[in-house]
Amino acid sequence: DTTIRIAGTHAPDQYASQVLDKIKDRLEQADVGLKVKVFPASQLGSGEQLLGDAIRGSIDIVHAYVYSHKDPVLELSSLPYLFTSYDQMAKAYKPGSVYFDTMEHRLDRMGLKLLGITGEGFIGVMASKKPENINTTEKKGMNIRVWSSPAAQSATQTMGYNTTTIDWGDAFAAIQQRVVDGMIGATPEATYATFKEAIKYYVPYNAFVESTSYYASEKSWNKKLNQEQRDLIKKVFAEEAAKFVDWSRQNDAKYLAELEKFGVEVLPVAEGDLNNIAEEVRDTTWPLMEERIGKDLMAKVRAELSQN
């Protein structure tokens, strides 16, 4: 039997981890001589570290966010308001789209094989005090935590917030202790799981997507696996990845309701207003990213997604 190592960055009882367990069962039961070891919860390191280890062939398959430290073009996946709806998400993450092909090609250049893109929900702003005029980009008079990315910083500021860069691990304490008034960077589910006690409000801005990918090490792919095994792996991962968009549509809604039930007020932004905010954010933030991602590519991806 060939043993393959799959590493993930999700907590063991998160949906993504359950899917990995399911994938493990499907691969092992298919009787093509595969044994699977799953390492969940960043046991083998952060997404950045896993990327390098997969290139090296120390890890065979990874499920994590694709960081851009080895290739700036990969920052494409963290462009604010690349799309705003689940339908567009489904379109972008489907094999054959400009977005998918670009990611596939850039990963291939590094020695990685893209097996599927998994959307895990939209990201909004949570706050401990009520943000004013959320329907526009006017100044909110609030300082919120942002992760260390120029795009995220610029987008959040355009949305009308002052920003402070704080690590995810320190974010809860920072909100709890009022170092900041809130943060951007979590889906409804993550907000519910980790931050609900520290906050009072949640605004589903849909500014960013929590998007991770399945990718394999080309080294292992070529050396370790036979054709039958490769075909099975490709098929199983593609099938499971395709289910993510619908799951995240339901899961976001489910946890927005759970937040309400817990006593966190959800402040929805009307669709028209959201589109205006998105437009403004694209105007200010996208030019900053042109140099690294490429203006043409950004325009091409956006054009495909905004078609009906």
Binding site: Q14, Q43, L44, G52, G57, D167, G169, Q176, V179, K196
Partner: protein
């Protein structure tokens, strides 16, 4: 097999007197040569694990401790504490335990607690004729209070992995932490009995006057914990930033107020703390690389087999879970330990009906203890470094503290759920 050989290599290298980072280097070379690994990935994995801002609190607190020591800032604080407890035999060492608990409320890390309290308390303890090994062992055994009294870095990780409420996890370890403090003091009192020549202050008839006098002298220094604690709990800064502020506040205090600092010993202090930082962090670096490789080598699978192979009696399984956690603690640092133990043991504990919040406390106590349990005992070695004691003279008293203070705390926390659940239920429902 691999685990046993790794353990054996570590033990032999350490007993020979090889520096800890290179003893781990030896283990790393063994695993790297025998296993299926790309050795070019080892060093980058250390870089990734160390490349976090939170770890910077360690050098900053080492630096603050060094400056407080050279600048004679710590002395008025301890003098003040002595006015209160100095007349009881062993009072100064109880002050050390309490100080670790209080400092634990400042920092999320046992390491920062040990470096700061250890370097400030140790000279005073030695001056008062306290046995060096015992005092160093006590301060080291009390340092994990930094992990048990919130904020705590490992509870944040645990809560993240198991999807529990961070606040509840924070609250779960407070009572076990207090129990531990009491037990440490009791064991210490027993161990101090045979030491006759410990100095205590002469009796006084002007207690209030002395308090007033020492308080006045200590006031500028007392502001330091006030700034740190107030800054963190008042929501002005993160613990790492507070550590930076502590350094900046301590420098003028040492130069102009307590006048212990001059240009010469200030630069000496800087060089010395930089070296200590380097020595400590290079050790962490190697430990983290090896910890991660052990995960790679499927220690999780082995642990599960081990636990269920013995018995299906819940009480026995609880013992086995603790046993596995102690093993993990012996082998690994606390961050790797919590990353490994929570996904591995949490489901088993849940099957037995243990509350996830109670498990947070059990895990916290276990990994805190693991940090001082050889062979992988970063705190023990760090304790030797900051106190200037020998590891060999610390070993026996440390093992006594583990057996009679830590283990009972662990048993209480494991078998009496109320201990950890009382506070979270009271405050958060």
């Amino acid at each position: 097999m691999l685990i046993l050989i790794t353990l054996a290599i570590l033990c032999i290298a350490l007993v020979m007197g090889m520096p800890v980072p290179f003893a781990f280097g030896a283990a790393l070379i063994y695993i790297g040569v025998t296993g299926d690994h790309d050795v070019a990935g080892f060093m980058p994995s250390g870089h990734w694990r160390m490349n976090v801002l939170v770890l910077l609190a360690i050098p900053l607190f080492i630096m603050a401790g060094g400056i407080m020591e050279k600048g004679k800032i710590a002395k008025p604080l301890i003098d003040l504490a002595e006015v209160f407890v100095g007349r009881i035999k062993g009072g100064l060492s109880y002050a050390g335990v309490c100080a670790s608990g209080i400092f634990g409320a400042i920092s999320g890390s046992a390491t920062a607690t040990l470096t700061c309290i250890g370097s400030i308390m140790m000279p005073q303890l030695e001056k008062a004729n306290y046995p060096r090994g015992l005092s160093a062992a006590l301060l080291t055994s009390a340092a994990p209070l930094g992990l048990l009294i919130p904020p705590s870095s490992i509870q944040i990780i645990y809560a993240w992995v198991t999807r529990q409420s961070v606040l509840k996890c924070f609250l779960a370890t407070i009572v076990p932490g207090l129990i531990l403090m009491v037990l440490l003091c009791i064991v210490n009192a027993v161990l101090l009995r045979k030491h006759k020549n410990i100095k205590t202050l002469p009796p006084t008839n002007n207690f209030a006057g002395e308090v007033a006098k020492q308080s006045r002298l200590a006031l500028p220094a007392l502001l330091m914990p006030v700034i740190i604690l107030g800054g963190i709990y008042g929501g002005i800064m993160t613990p790492t930033e507070a550590a930076g502020i502590a350094v900046i506040y301590a420098i003028p205090l040492g130069f102009f107020v307590y006048k212990g600092l001059n240009v010469k010993n200030f630069s000496e202090a800087l060089i010395q703390t930089a070296t200590t930082t380097g020595v400590v962090m290079v050790m962490f670096f190697m430990v983290m690389i090896v910890s991660r490789l052990l995960v790679f080598e499927d220690i999780p699978g082995l642990a599960e087999e081990l636990i269920f192979s013995v018995s299906d009696n819940p009480i026995v399984i609880l013992v086995m879970i603790n046993f596995v956690m102690i093993l993990i603690g012996m082998l690994m640092d606390d961050v790797s330990g919590v990353l490994l133990a929570s996904p591995l043991l949490f489901p088993i504990a849940q099957k037995l009906g243990m509350d996830p919040i109670q498990f947070a406390a059990v895990l916290g106590v276990n990994l805190g203890m693991g940090n001082i349990t050889p062979p992988t005992a970063p705190l023990l070695y760090l304790g030797a470094r900051v106190t200037g004691a020998k590891v060999s003279e610390m070993l026996k008293p440390t093992l006594i503290f583990i057996t009679f203070a830590w283990l009972p705390t662990l048993v209480i926390t494991t078998y009496i759920p109320e201990v950890s659940l009382f506070l979270p239920e009271l405050l958060l429902g």
